[in-house]
């Protein structure tokens, strides 16, 4: 396992985690770069590709949450103005996708990261609990509450359109 292999295999995952959490392509790139720089420093401590991916998910989550906390009350980009980075394919309704991303961005930090890890990375609550160092029941509770809130808001939005 070389640094170049780990970077090549995980750069899209790291950038996307930061982007879906921060909703700011510039900030996401900054966070992702910082994470890979730290990975380079710690590279000798990693035990293999799986450990590297776990480490990257954990470091990105932590670094993105720290970034939001440090940014604090600084002005952020309006959610509608965000330029979406390209993706290989965009299945589903683009407008619905956009609305869902906007709603996820309104969630508090921890539940938002739980949602991104669950639906971007398709991780199980147990895996998310290890990455975010929180009890599994807390992860499940964040998921349930966030899903209920998103469903309600999406139904309301669709009702307004109809």
């Amino acid at each position: 396992m070389t640094f170049a292999e780990v970077l090549g295999a995980n750069q899209s995952m790291v950038f996307s985690l930061a982007f879906h959490f921060l909703r700011d392509p510039g900030a996401a790139e900054e966070v992702a770069q910082d994470v890979f720089l730290r990975l380079h420093q710690k590279f000798d401590e990693l035990e293999g590709p799986r450990h590297a991916t776990f480490w990257l998910r954990k470091a990105t989550s932590r670094r993105a949450i720290d970034y939001v906390r440090k940014r604090g009350s600084r002005a952020t980009i309006a959610l509608d103005d965000i330029a979406e980075p390209s993706s290989a394919e965009q299945p589903g309704d683009p407008l619905l996708n956009r609305r869902l991303r906007q709603l996820i961005a309104t969630l508090p930090e921890k539940p938002r990261m739980v949602m991104v890890l669950r639906y971007q990375e398709d991780l199980m609550p147990e895996e998310i609990s290890e990455i975010l160092e929180m009890p599994v029941r807390t992860v499940k509770s964040h998921l349930q509450r966030s899903l209920a809130m998103l469903r309600e808001k999406i139904d309301r939005s669709l009702g307004d359109i109809r």
Binding site: Q11, E29, Q33, S86, P91, D93
Partner: protein, 102 residues
């Protein structure tokens, strides 16, 4: 619920990183390496300066101590000479008095 979760997966599908991302990471890694090199060079040069300055300072202190010891010895010698001269004058005066009496 499954349908809604599928919509969420679509909405949060992985995005492509910017095309320059990889190059920027390698540049940051290189900058970090050279930064670390600069740090060690500064640290080594700094340590050398401290060692040389300490050597000069110790030499200066030693010279000062020797000069002070020399000054003290000179002062003691002057006092001793003054006492001797006084004593000799007294003896000379006594001898002269006794010679005149004879």
């Amino acid at each position: 619920m499954e349908d809604f979760e599928r919509q969420l997966r679509n909405a949060l599908a992985r995005k492509q990183e910017p095309p320059t991302f990889e190059a920027k990471v390698y540049a940051a890694v290189a900058a970090q390496r050279s930064g670390r090199g600069i740090f060690w060079r500064w640290a080594t040069e700094g340590a050398a300066v401290v060692v040389i300055a300490s050597g000069f300072w110790m030499g200066y202190q030693h010279e000062n101590q020797q000069r002070a010891a020399g000054e003290a010895a000179k002062a003691r010698l002057e006092v001793a000479l003054r006492i001797t001269v006084t004593e000799l004058s007294k003896i000379q005066k006594t001898v002269r008095t006794s010679t005149e009496d004879e």
